[in-house]
Amino acid sequence: MIDKTFESLERAVADIHDGATVMIGGFGNAGMPSALIDALIAQGAKELTIVNNNAGNGETGLAALLKAKRVRKIICSFPRQTDSHHFDALYRAGEIELELTPQGNLAERIRAAGAGIGGFFTPTGYGTLLAEGKETRLINGRQYVLESPIHADFALIKALKGDRWGNLVYRKTARNFGPIMAMAAKVTIAQVQDVVALGELDPEVIVTPGIFVQRVVKESA
């Protein structure tokens, strides 16, 4: 019997290694898998490359991981916010590398990795600082920039419900990067509010099919 559920957050993140690339879902705090991040902080992995839309808000979740100095590099679209003080301090001290990417390119680079695409031409960013040094191409009269996929060793995401096969449904705008990060990582770990019995999720409304999910753990586990 296939059972992807883990009984503890601690066990679910136990093999995340130093230097791993870890995608973390969420847009601000909506969809941020804070229980998994807390478990990762306790686990101790360091020198991580993190992929997230932001660079942490306030004191919890990704901000706490940054504060604990476990992150070597962050790939994101919008690091600077009124409450991103932990990132700001590390950046100004030269203690973290930033790869800034337009938000739609970030999403498509993640999706491309999950879909087996080796690179893609996008109009976004053409003629700007963020496309400097990148290959461009004129296609049907429009200028495009070559962007590369972003792969990850692990993805930590938050969903509303999951079953033992890894099927997931999300809640409102907390869905955001979850479904595409699940596709792009070798190991996707989903923190869910509830683990439900197989068959309880309507197959017509499953957002992430279990093939993209390796571990499911209850957020209160």
Partner: protein, 214 residues
């Protein structure tokens, strides 16, 4: 110089006039969010938010906020009946794929060719953050900019060439300021409307690029 200016609410109401029934619209963070307050209630318009919703409604009543239902500015919002949620790659496909009809953005500068600068001042000590700005700049059939005509120190935000780092090249279609409404055309900036009492000469004197009379 004349002091005749549109208020920010008048600017928002003016932009709202140009948004048609059935339009799919993204309102950028800041001043553009005001446009939502002036969309006629008898007109169905679909508001898109980059973080994965269509059919965005107004802010919830106090105590009704839901941390999983937010807008691009991470403020709590509501969902209208018939609204939908989707993931980030789909949300940006809606922009990049040309499915949105209108986006309304704020700006630091717009050039006479419609180049947009709105993400980074280029200051050496600034921490850069782009978010969805570059995607939105290209991501709608019509890109409207809504901004004050001049900076607080009186410099024109409409310029021959942007001095701030670009967000997008030749992407702006129309500019709404506190002094005028301007169309970006292949011949240059054409004046559609001016704030009451303002003369063309006064407007031209306040603008850093040549203007064409409507």
């Amino acid at each position: 110089m004349s002091t005749h200016r549109y208020t920010r609410d008048q600017m928002a109401a003016r932009v709202a006039q140009d948004i048609q029934e059935g339009a799919y619209v993204n309102l950028g963070i800041g001043l553009p969010t005001k446009v939502a307050n002036y969309l006629p209630t008898d007109r169905e318009v679909f508001l898109h938010s980059e973080n994965g919703l269509l059919g965005m409604g107004p802010a919830p009543a106090e105590g009704e906020e839901d941390e999983d239902l937010i807008n691009a500015g991470k403020q709590p919002v509501t969902l209208l009946t018939g609204g939908a949620f989707f993931h980030h790659a789909d949300s940006f496909a809606m922009m990049r794929g040309g499915h949105l009809d209108v986006c309304v953005l704020g700006a630091f500068q717009v050039s006479a060719k419609g180049d947009l600068a709105n993400w980074h001042t280029g200051a050496p000590d600034a921490i850069p953050a782009v978010g969805g700005a570059m995607d939105l700049a290209l991501g709608a059939k019509q890109v409207f900019v809504m901004m004050e005509h001049q900076t607080k120190t009186g410099e024109s935000k409409i310029v021959a060439e942007c001095s701030y780092p670009l967000t997008g090249v030749a992407c702006v279609n129309r500019i709404y300021t506190d002094m005028a409404v301007l169309d970006v055309t292949k011949d240059g900036l054409r004046v559609l409307e001016m704030a009451p009492g303002l003369t063309f000469e006064e407007l031209q004197a306040a603008t850093g690029a040549p203007l064409l009379k409507g």
